[in-house]
């Protein structure tokens, strides 16, 4: 299968500037019978905002805990700057961690919380601990809050205190474990922008764990989509969305329509390789170029293709299918329409939801091949 852990990054960022800040090499973590992380290899570049996203139980938090040193891998190696950190306790890994529940020390004021890490190391860049604490509270827009009790703060403020505390000792790597999931949607959107800004300002290598694929796409330089302890795809957000590597990624990240069928013909038309795929009684023509996997497709292969709901258009497109509208969800700027096409559910995005029976279609270039063999 295509575990695209080593997918080349786009652009000039060839990855030749020294060892990755953090890398996992064939890391496995088992708890008794269950395997939380399975033969996972990743590398996070210096200064990168790297997100682990996946459904609950996919192993993303375990991966973060392996990096932090709260867990040791059952097999494989975690490396920081190319050096193995096996057996190095968390306090010696120079990581900053922000937990989902913020884990502020309830018996210490905000300032003491932020200053705690400075008990074990000198403030980076000279200066006194007090100055460092004040600087960091300013950084997270909480200047003057040093004497407050953590439990008098709102959830969003606590989250920012946790950020400031994690950053105070000047860690090499910032690890964020679903830091927003306890906040309401609006605040979450605002905070994720702030987190991204701080990360950019400091240029700190950041590993971010979330189950929210939208959040992952919004903030990350690169995203690793995890499922069952394995990386399904590691790529920049746009690639993950537009060219999902697997059916899992295709359906986990955003809505998607997935069709599987046998290839009945492969041809070249106007410089593009096209394949005809028999899905049920219909035959869809899909473009094969641009995908390494798709390049080798031949007749009688079984092909899985996906088409985003927003790529389906009513009464348009070369591949047509006629389906019955079963329900519609009004989402604000658009409506998600559920169609029934001979027993399959088809999703459609529309501004004006159709009713009754409709014909929708897509062009060959709107389809993306996720699986073919």
């Amino acid at each position: 299968m295509r575990t695209l852990a080593s997918e080349r990054p786009p652009g000039e960022d060839g990855g030749d500037d020294g060892p990755p800040a953090v890398s996992l090499d064939g890391v496995t973590r088992r708890y008794g019978e269950t395997t939380a992380v399975s033969d996972l290899s990743l590398s996070v570049r210096e200064g990168e905002f790297f997100t682990l996203v996946g459904p609950s139980g996919c192993g993303k938090t375990t991966t973060l805990r392996l990096i932090a040193g709260f867990e040791e891998p059952t097999a494989g190696t975690v490396r920081f700057g190319g050096e193995s950190v096996a057996g190095v306790p968390p306090e010696d890994r120079d990581v900053g961690v922000v937990f989902q529940n913020y884990a502020l020390f309830p018996h210490m004021a905000v300032g003491e919380n932020v200053a705690y890490g400075l008990r074990f190391t000198d403030p980076p860049g000279g200066g006194s601990a007090e100055e460092r604490v004040a600087d960091l509270l300013d950084l997270v827009d909480l200047g003057g809050m040093a004497d407050r009790d953590p439990d008098t703060l709102s959830g969003g403020q606590q989250q920012r205190v946790a950020m400031a505390r994690a950053l105070a000792p000047g860690p090499d790597v910032l690890l964020l474990d679903e830091p927003m999931s306890a906040l309401d949607a609006k605040l979450r959107e605002r905070l994720r922008v702030q987190v991204r800004e701080i990360q950019q300002e400091l240029g700190i290598t950041t590993v971010y764990v979330t189950h929210d694929q939208e959040e992952a796409l919004a903030v990350s330089d690169r995203v690793a989509v995890l499922n069952d302890g394995r990386a399904e795809q590691v790529a920049p957000p746009r690639t993950v969305y537009r060219r999902p590597a697997t059916e899992f990624v295709a359906t986990f990240v955003g809505d998607n329509n997935v069709f599987t069928g046998d290839v009945t013909a492969v041809r070249t038309d106007d410089g593009r390789r096209l394949a005809d795929v028999a899905v049920g009684d219909a035959t869809f023509t899909v473009a094969l170029d641009a995908d390494a996997d798709a390049a080798s497709v031949t007749v009688r292969d079984r092909l899985t293709v996906c088409v985003r709901p927003e790529r389906l258009a009513v009464d348009a497109g070369r591949n047509e299918l006629t389906a019955d509208v079963t329900s519609a969800e009004f989402l604000g700027e658009t409506t998600r329409v559920h169609l029934d096409w001979v027993g399959r559910e088809i999703l459609l995005r529309a501004e004006d939801p159709p009713e009754g029976t409709v014909t929708v279609g897509f062009d060959p270039g709107d389809a993306h091949v996720v699986d073919g063999h």
Partner: protein, 619 residues
Amino acid sequence: MADAIEGGTEGDDGAPADATTSGDREHRDSRSLRGRLERRALVALAAATVGLLLVVFYYPVATVFVDSVLVEGRLTARVFFDILSDPFYFGEPARLLAGDSLASVVEGLLSPDRRLGIVGFTAYQAALSTVASVALGLPAAYLLARFEFPGRRTLRSLTILPFVLPSIMVAVGFVATFGQRGTLNAVLGAFGLGPVDLLFTLEAVVVAHAFYNAPLVARVTTAAWESVDASAVETARSLGASPLRAFRDVVAPQLVPSVLMGAALTFVFTFSTFPIVLALGGFQLATVEVFVYRLIRDLEYAEAAALALIELGISLGLLYAYLRYEARHTVRSRGIRPLPRRPLVPSSPSLRALLLRVGLAGYAVVALAVFVAPIASMILASVSGPEGATLAHYRFLVERQTTGASFQVRPWDAVRNSLLFGVASLAVALPMGVVVAVLTTRDYRGRKLVDAAAMAPLAVSGIVVGLGLLRGLVFGVEVGGTRLAVGGAVAIVAAHAVAGYPFVVRTVAPGLDGVDRTLVESARALGAPRVRALVDVELPLVWPAVVAGAAFAFAISIGEFSATVVLASGTSQFTMPVAIERFIGRRLGPATAMGVVLLVVTTVSFLLIDRLGGEDVGF
């Protein structure tokens, strides 16, 4: 990128990469140098705790048990066999081992003059005590869990008190209540009723055991009752169950495990009872533990050890059976809405409500008689003589202090020794208990074993620990040609610490268990070695539990009798409880006066520890 925050805005990667890296490494090295001691601190403390336990508990206890199988240098099971087949110990069933037929044993058991043996009698009185404790404890749990009244919280906290009261003092209180000239007979006499003599009867022993254990039953049952989710009961009611039916189907099943736990612990405690029976029953009501003590006094070490081992086996077997049961039946409910409490004074008087209150009032009278009367009687008896109120008993204590012969027990020395031993054993038991609590609340292979090994002192009788320390450490051990021995005082402190630290563990461990794991992990990610996370984060958060554990350990030391009486006999290291026992053998008056002194010292110490702990909470 340790300096990322400063360098961030103005072109971050200006410095050569290798310079940054080497700077980082130096930074890390200096940090680990500074933290090296701290890093090892927890391991060192754990090793010290294990070592101490080995020296002052496992080794001495082992020497006692070796005595039972090693007679004149030869390994033998004869001592055990003799005990197991002796009807004096095991009653009629012992004859089975002696070779008699089953039929004759059954016949013997059915005959009116059957013999229970000491073990049988011990189990019998333990069973009676358990029934009495449950009967007395359940109404209290009902009252505490289901009613609201002024002082409810105080009363709930007070249920811990009997547990830490020195047993010998309680025994004095019971003598003052139930003795021939006790308050009970005074009250009965006022009603023209004849005097009763309950002293040295099974009844007195059982009531005294209930004094100790009914609050325990009440405590665990109240806790279970308070964790019953009201919405579960409401669901049952909405599905058509009557209040009684809802209680039977929803509430009762959640209470049963706790009641059984209270009963099981009561049985185990009363099975190995010692000071109460010694003072209230004497040797004619001897239980196994009392007999072990007697055998030790008669220097019959092998038989004493074998008997103690058999007793331990029975106790552990019961505990194990209970724990097996508990493991299968524990239901943990969190985030529940507890059942609402009713006012004790009913808002709308109905016959049902009235009857209920009358019942509770009746219970209150019984509870007063069992729990308050002994202490009140002791205080009363200490200031009364044949001619009314007198301070003669206290004067006796003062005289004994000033003019007493060297072999006599001097009161002030006893007070001083008790406090000294209390402080010293607290200093040992508190860190030990905290370390064991840390070790038993972390997840790792073999944790259960560590837990069991660390809690074993709770199951082994004080007599055995005392004897082991006496024979193993005080008399000395030959190590490489030199005789190593510790003083009696050190041995007493060790025994007290061993008896006390499990209570520190039991109060601190649940607290540590409740501390959010991510708090510790945050501290560690911020650079704190494990022991610093413990000191900076966990201990401040569970400080009330640490203080409670300290108070427990101190109270256990102050009240400890079994091991102390073994170790202090013939020395000047006697404590207040030992002094009381010496006095009680002759005259009640001075014993009650000494009891009051003990009560005052214990109470003041408790308040002091509480105050000291309270002031430190803010750090």
